[in-house]
Amino acid sequence: MTHHTIPEAGNPATAAPEALTTHEDIDQPPVRDKDRASQWRLVWWRFRSHRLAMIGLAGLIIFYSVALFAPFLAPYSSSTFDSDYIYAPPQQLHLVSDGDWGLHVYGYELEQDPDTFALTHTENPDDRIDLGFFVQGDPYTVIGPVTWDRHLIGPTDAEDPVYLLGADRLGRDLFSMIIHGTRISMTIGLVGVALAFGLGVTLGGISGYVGGRTDTLIQRAVEFFMSLPTLPLWLGLAAALPRDWGTTQRYFAITIILALVAWTDLARVVRGRFLSLRTEEFVVSARLDGARGRRVIFRHMLPSFSSHLIASLTLSIPAMILAETSLSFLGLGLRAPTISWGVLLEQAQNFRVLQDAPWLLLPGLAVVLAVLSLNFVGDGLRDAADPYRS
């Protein structure tokens, strides 16, 4: 777009009133991208300069891709186990041995303690297990009836044991388990978060925009829900839900019920924003422009804090992930055979087991990384949310 050059109006003081149709502001700055950038573009530009947030965003993309392609990325299926390799330690990856190139690990040599019958695994340099990409392994369903059996990485011979991050107490590959667990852990909270979000925005919005008696009523409801102790509620619900539901189903039900309690914080924030925006001059002027209620809300008020809402949404997902992890760890949330990071961590409850197999804590690392990524992104969004306030 070329810059519009404007005929000089001369000194406006001496110019006749007809000169009005020409432009008085002659020293216009050149057009900058910024001038035409919409709110979201500005938010993105700000977000981009937030380094931690960009790292978090990369992490987030990785985590959700892993969740999406879990069966393909994991070397083994979630049900594969081998009791010979209970608590087998992580294998080291090798690239070269005996002048032979190729990604490989060494197999285990098993020894059984004659007194305790405990198995000890030591790596055997003579037993070379070659790893390959896109190898044939356990079959899995892609979509519906479509199945496939290729895995991104795995032993070239599917029978060979490969435990890159060690094995758990059933002899399952922890690496595969963490990948499979990503699916549940990263997604089970989303529905609950979305539900709480919807409730919070709607009720808070009504409360703030309508005001008066409605506002009082909704605020008292908020106070009631805020006073409910969540952990006992969770415990009670876990006990009260029908026994014949699957564990995932039960957990899903619990998150939804918890969402019914968790909307309160957001409702208060949204109400406050509405209250302050209602008297803001640009909202008053929108009303005077003839905009009706719905248009005022959705076109003028909501966009001015939608980015704040997205930030708070991002920041509430980690809470759900942590809730899942801690409840499953306590045995109240998800349970085997469902696989989630929390369920995997449940195995790490026993201190003696931890001493022998510290790698069982690795799902915890996944939790930390996922939560940090989300928090970084949320922080970045919050900082970038209002590009008009410097």
């Binding site: 003081a13 149709t21 020293d27 709110q39 008053v284 003839g290 001015s304 008009y388």
Partner: protein, 742 residues
């Protein structure tokens, strides 16, 4: 410490290092690291403050006035810092020191801040903590810096509060800032600045946030304190009227440099720099009415952003007398003849070639109109008045009241009412501009908002006679209201908060067309483009967002939005108050041109009497929710019939240093009565110098026509006042002060 000893101390300080001025800035540079790169906010300022004098720094916003002041005390906020230059301070205790070289967190500069240089800021209420009493805040400083005991500090605090003119200081010392008015808070801030008996007081726009009546009293206070203590004052303001009232010397700043400096008489009588001249020309001065003064002169464009400093002379893009090939190439040198200083090629014989004449013609300052001129102007006014009387009022406000309930307690019980409007009646004829003036809190904005129905008045009628019969706007709802809101529009005060930052100019201006289903698609685009051109903006701006524009440009957008529905009546609520003087003149001219072009009727709400006088046909003066006087502009300003109007007029600073200290001042006390619990009788009697006990606190006065009738005036245009004693009082208006002047 007593006042006497403070005086001696100050004189001593002057005597000690006689070779140096009290404060001397030399080559001061302050820069800010911003997203747009390094911005040099102060770009080589040389300035001296002699002992015992008041030096005013004047200029538009963005010229680096405040940053200069803050740089003196090392108070520039991050990310700014002083990157070059010296601040030589002739300290009574430390000797001749460079404040810029001191560690901004060190003990020396803290000593200077606490004991030697006091500072007063613009927002008095924001500068005081609402959690502590003013006595506690003053006392803390005294205990910390002067090692006083609690008891001593309290006594000294009372003493200081008395000194800054706070009545009943021994009880006020225990008041919280939020219990005091803005003027009182500013006095407290001044008391704080005086606590260490400073030899220099830096005041950064100390009266900008205050009403004109309060401003006049604060300026008096500065003068009194200076007479008493002999301290110097560095006073920062954008208001040339204030400069004329208070300054001994004036420094005009533009884009981080002092472009002209001299004594106040020199600057006002013979301004040399084109920028100073333009500033002088763009302020409406009292004594010039709309019909006599015509259009205001303006300065083109706006102050550029510090990151886009023009090459050569930074003022050349806005300068009418710039020399092509010179001004945009080389920066002018500083021409310093010892007494005054100027930076302009037009005054530099070396830079200027032979083809351009040295200097500029003496500025013809518009003389105050002679009596003959005034009589002529009055004839013109009454002639137009006659034209106007032929039509019935466009808008008639009848007995409108607006009460805001005050609720408190457990069950939110209704305790009292804030009376924002109390039985206001007004009429506006088609094609005229009615000014609405008064101090803040008098209800003028509420009245404007009731008329456009942004608020719903509690009682009363607002009769609007647009195309058809009179309709009561106050009783309309839903679609009926919306269709009338097309014809009665509002221009908001704040050009920043009134535009949705998330919508493009096209969307903002087009919004009324969309909501009223007037136009869509390309027709909408065309109409918006046409409107943009009308208000002096390029149609190319349609797809840009408000953040790309300056305050003046945004206000044009606001005007475009108000006018796109082709309204008949426009309520301009302090539409130019947030703008710099040069831009303000542009917008005022635009409003007047649009009025002529589009047959608009304005309700012009403003606290600035000189602006009101220059644009309005008639003026209504409001006090505490009531109209106390209404008449033709000329009559209100020449022959006020209400003591409040008289006081308002006398408080307006006049941009003429020669007329300073005429003793014409009528001062109102700082405290407005509480709008919840109003005085009995005439609301103004608590502050009125003409009030008579037993009369004025009895029955409330009604708004009645005065005895004097101007020829050819019908009943509608009669001068009305709400004062019981108006017929016996001899009140002075602007003309009166001018007669006294001669």
């Amino acid at each position: 410490m007593t006042t006497e000893s403070a005086t001696t101390m100050a004189t001593d300080a002057v005597g000690d290092h006689a070779g140096h001025p009290l404060l001397e800035l030399s080559g001061l540079h302050t820069q800010f690291a911003t997203r747009d790169g390094m911005v040099q906010a102060v770009h080589g300022v040389d300035l001296t403050v002699p002992a015992g004098k008041t030096v005013c720094i004047v200029g538009e916003s963005g010229c680096g006035k405040s940053v200069t002041a803050r740089s003196v005390l090392g108070l520039v906020d991050h990310p700014g810092h002083v990157n070059a230059g010296h601040v030589w301070w002739n300290s009574p205790t430390l000797g001749h020191v460079d404040l810029a070289a001191m560690d901004p967190k060190g003990a020396d500069i803290r000593h200077v801040r606490a004991q030697e240089i006091g500072m007063v800021f613009q927002e008095p209420i924001a500068s005081l903590s609402p959690m502590y009493t003013v006595g506690a805040q003053l006392g803390e400083m005294l205990r910390l810096h002067q090692g006083m005991t609690k008891q001593q500090a309290r006594e000294r605090a009372v003493e200081l509060l008395t000194r800054v003119g706070i009545p009943k200081a021994h009880t006020r010392v225990d008041a919280y800032p939020w219990q005091m008015s803005g003027g009182m808070c500013q006095r407290v801030m001044i008391a704080m600045a005086l606590a260490g008996d400073p030899t220099l007081l830096i005041a950064d726009e100390p009266t900008t946030a205050l009403d004109v009546t309060i401003q006049a009293r604060i300026l008096d206070l500065f003068r009194e304190l200076q007479d008493e203590t002999g301290m110097s004052v560095l006073f920062i303001t954008h208001d040339l009227g204030v400069v004329a009232e208070i300054a001994d010397e004036v420094a005009v700043m533009y884009l981080g440099r002092v472009v002209e400096q001299g004594t106040v008489e020199e600057i006002f009588e013979n301004p040399r720099h084109p920028y100073t001249r333009a500033l002088m020309g763009s302020i409406p001065t009292l004594g010039h009415t709309r019909r006599s003064a015509g259009r205001l002169s303006t300065i083109r464009g706006t102050v550029p952003h510090g990151a886009h400093r023009p090459t050569g002379c930074s003022f050349h893009p806005r300068c009418d007398v710039a020399v092509a090939g010179l001004c945009e190439v080389t920066a002018p040198r500083t021409l310093d003849d010892g007494a005054s200083l100027i930076e302009c090629h037009r005054w530099d014989p070396e830079a200027l070639g032979s083809e351009v004449e040295l200097g500029l013609p003496t500025l013809r300052r518009e003389a105050t109109p002679t009596t003959a001129e005034r009589a002529h102007a009055e004839n013109v006014t009454s002639a137009t008045g006659n034209n106007l009387t032929e039509s019935a009022p466009l808008l008639e406000v009848r007995e409108v009241s607006m009460r805001f309930p005050v609720r408190s307690g457990f069950l939110n019980r209704h305790r009292a009412d804030v009376h924002a409007l109390d039985g206001v009646s007004l009429s506006i004829r088609p094609g005229e501009t009615l000014g609405l003036v008064g101090e803040s809190g008098c209800g003028k904005t509420t009245l404007g908002r009731c008329i456009v129905r942004a608020e719903d008045p509690t009682e009363g009628q607002i009769l609007y006679s647009g195309s058809d019969d009179a309709v009561d706007l106050a009783g309309l709802h839903g679609g009926d209201l919306r269709s009338h809101q097309r014809e009665v529009r509002m221009i908001f005060q704040d050009p920043f908060s009134s535009l949705n930052p998330r919508m493009t100019l096209g969307q903002i201006i087009g919004e009324p067309l969309v909501t009223h289903r007037v136009a869509t698609g390309s027709e909408l685009q065309d109409r918006v483009a046409q409107m943009l051109r009308r208000v002096g903006l390029s149609p190319d701006y349609m797809d840009r967002y408000p953040h790309a524009f300056s305050g003046g440009q945004r206000q044009r957008v606001n005007i475009a939005r108000a006018l796109i529905l082709e309204p008949k009546l426009v309520v301009a609520d302090e539409a130019v108050s947030a703008l710099d003087v040069s831009v303000r003149a542009q917008i005022l001219n635009l409003l007047q041109d649009l009025q002529d072009e589009l047959d608009l009727t304005y309700l012009f709400i403003s606290h600035d009497l000189s602006v009101v006088q220059s644009v309005c046909d008639r003026v209504a003066v409001m006090y505490l929710g009531k109209v106390v006087e209404v008449a033709d502009t000329q009559q209100v300003f020449d022959d006020p019939q209400h003591p409040y109007t008289e006081a308002l007029l006398s408080a307006v600073p006049i941009a003429d240093p020669a007329r300073r200290g005429e003793g014409r001042r009528i001062r109102l006390s700082d405290d407005l009565p509480d709008p919840i619990d109003r005085p009995a009788g005439c609301f103004f009697h608590t502050r009125c110098r003409h009030a008579v006990a037993g009369l004025c606190d009895g029955a409330p006065p009604a708004l009645v026509p005065t005895a004097d009738v101007v020829d050819g005036q019908d009943d509608f245009g009669r001068h009305r006042t709400a004062c019981l004693r108006h017929s016996e009082l001899e009140l002075t208006g602007i003309a009166g002060t001018q007669e006294a002047d001669r």
